[in-house]
């Protein structure tokens, strides 16, 4: 039982990171109906920014976190303006191919700067507490609580600010929104800033939990978070969070009770089955097409 609870805690940690990344996919999809396949690489850039500011500038946790978030937010906004915006009227496939291209560019740009895997030094004191056989580390506490805090902030922005309302409206009908006096391009930029920033935060936390980072680390994590977003119902914010935690829990539990090589295979099989049962994802709703 203790073992199970202990694994539950690990699942919460991994799930938080998947959820944060999945939010970036789902927000962009909600507003532009496109999958930003470079998002996994945004996550990687977040980990590298953390590495740079910690190793070369010696910054402690909080400023490093803020810089990672701001850095990746800026990256997201620049990529959207430079690479996606010119393709807004183009078929969605062109935008998706461009996103893949941006991802490959980011991987190889990082590879050019840093050909070898890097190690992020520990920047928070690693203490752990034991409650009745259950051990929890300071890092776990930080990752779980910080993720929850970021998700709460996001919920507030989406539900209670004018930008959030504009985002929800754009995901419904992007042609009418400008006629309500809303500058759609600004709202799209803000969406990219927030979605990418969450990815950057996830990258930094992932780098602290699994401190060996390399330019390709975003690929598989990004794919997994994308699948989490689809399972939750792409475009749906709560769905992305639920999907992230489901995926985290499945992976950890499979690895805990079966040979660890079963992990991805079982996790993805479960997700495939879930999608057969609910093709629009857990929170997704089919949008009836009126004729």
């Amino acid at each position: 039982m203790t073992y199970f609870l202990q694994q539950g805690l690990n699942a919460l940690q991994l799930g938080s990171i998947y959820a944060l990344i999945a939010l970036g996919y789902t927000m962009v999809y909600g507003i532009l109906s496109m999958i930003n396949f470079a998002h996994g690489d945004f996550f990687m850039v977040g980990a590298f920014i953390c590495f740079v500011v910690v190793t070369f500038m010696g910054l402690p946790f909080v400023p490093a976190m803020i810089l990672s978030i701001i850095g990746v937010s800026l990256l997201g906004v620049i990529v959207e303006r430079a690479a996606y915006k010119p393709l807004r009227q183009a078929p969605r496939v062109s935008a998706i191919i461009t996103a893949l291209g941006v991802g490959i560019f980011l991987e190889n740009f990082t590879l050019a700067l840093s050909p070898y895997p890097k190690h992020i030094p520990a920047i928070i004191e690693n203490t752990s507490w034991t409650f009745g056989g259950l051990t929890i580390s300071s890092l776990q506490v930080i990752i779980i609580l910080l993720s929850l805090a970021l998700m709460t902030v996001l919920h507030f922005i989406v539900q209670h600010t004018r930008v959030g309302m504009a985002m929800r409206a754009i995901s419904w009908d992007k042609n009418v929104v400008p006629l309500m006096g809303v500058p759609v391009n600004n709202v799209i930029s803000i969406t990219f800033a927030i979605g990418s920033g969450l990815g950057g935060a996830a990258g930094m936390m992932y780098g602290m939990a699994y401190p060996i980072i390399d330019p390709y680390m975003g690929i598989i994590v990004g794919w997994k978070a994308f699948i989490a977003a689809v399972v939750g119902g792409i475009g749906n914010i709560r769905g992305a969070v639920i999907g992230g935690y489901i995926l985290g829990a499945t992976e950890i539990m499979v690895a805990a009770f079966f040979p660890s090589t079963y992990r991805d295979f079982t996790a993805f099989s479960l997700l495939l089955i879930l999608l057969i049962v609910r093709p629009y994802g857990i929170m997704g709703k089919p949008r009836p097409q009126k004729v």
């Binding site: 507030f156 922005i157 600010t161 930008v163 309302m165 400008p178 006629l179 006096g181």
Partner: protein, 260 residues
């Protein structure tokens, strides 16, 4: 005073000329109608006026400012609002949120203030909410404020679209087929409603409508389009007896084709 002056507006979709040399002078507080057969270019004119399309050539001066080339959101901010031929509400948002979003351009607070729940954020959100509720109660819709827009009955959705347009504080309101799908009794009520809205909000209104009874009794002036060209302009009585208009609507009498 002239509120809007459109000069030589021409618009092409590829090689197809949708609107050709469209001219219009609109005085403040006028209520005019644009009529014409399907595909005559009426909605295209609205789309050009609101910035959805950029006219291929020509100019529109609205309240002293050129609007051709401006983005739809800045044109809305200048004071042109519209409704749509088929209802385009944000169906999954509440009635209140549909109105609140129309206040976007008039709102000023920074994200920081919003996150801290302080400063202008509270005051502004309170003001927008109050103004939205005021508008809704003005139209006796306050009890539906928390209902999702898609759950309203059809007539109410049409009305909400007009309320949402009014929330942007327009000077000029463009109504695209407001009577579509209404029975004669509902149309009577809609005519009263439009008159009342125009006086209460001191609006200038352009309507596109196929319902002849509706346009003939409500509009002070009519513009008739056919194949993108203005074929007639005048008061309803003049239009009713205009030979070109009859031809556009009814076709050339058969005797002209074969009888000569």
């Amino acid at each position: 005073m002239v509120l809007l002056k459109a000069e030589n507006i021409t618009h092409y979709f590829g090689g197809l000329c949708a609107v050709s040399e469209f001219n219009l002078e609109l005085r403040e507080h006028e209520l005019i109608g644009i009529i014409g057969p399907n595909g005559a270019g009426k909605t295209t004119v609205f789309n050009i006026m609101t910035g959805v399309y950029k006219a291929t050539s020509g100019s529109i001066m609205f309240n002293g400012q050129e609007t051709v080339g401006k983005s739809p959101n800045s044109i809305t901010a200048l004071g042109i609002a519209r409704t749509f031929q088929n209802i385009r509400l944000f169906s999954d948002l509440s009635v209140l949120d549909n109105i609140r979003i129309a206040h976007y351009s008039g709102t000023k607070y920074t994200p920081i203030e919003a996150l801290l729940h302080a400063g202008r954020y509270r005051a502004e959100e309170k003001r927008i909410r109050a103004h939205s509720m005021e508008l809704l109660s003005f139209f006796s819709m306050e009890e539906f404020a928390d209902e999702l827009a898609k759950n309203l009955p059809y007539g109410m959705q049409r009305r909400l679209e007009i309320v949402r347009a009014l929330a942007t504080r327009p000077k000029l309101l463009l109504l695209d087929e407001p009577a579509a799908g209404m029975n004669p009794k509902e149309i009577d009520r809609l005519m009263e409603f439009i008159h009342w809205v125009r006086n209460e909000f001191k609006l200038t209104i352009i309507v596109i409508e196929h319902q002849m009874r509706f346009v003939m009794s409500i509009c002070e002036r009519l513009v008739v389009l056919d194949f993108g060209t203005t074929i007639a302009e005048g008061n309803p009585a003049e239009i009713q007896n205009n030979a070109k208009v009859l031809e556009a609507y009814l076709g050339t009498p058969a005797v002209n084709d074969y009888g000569k």
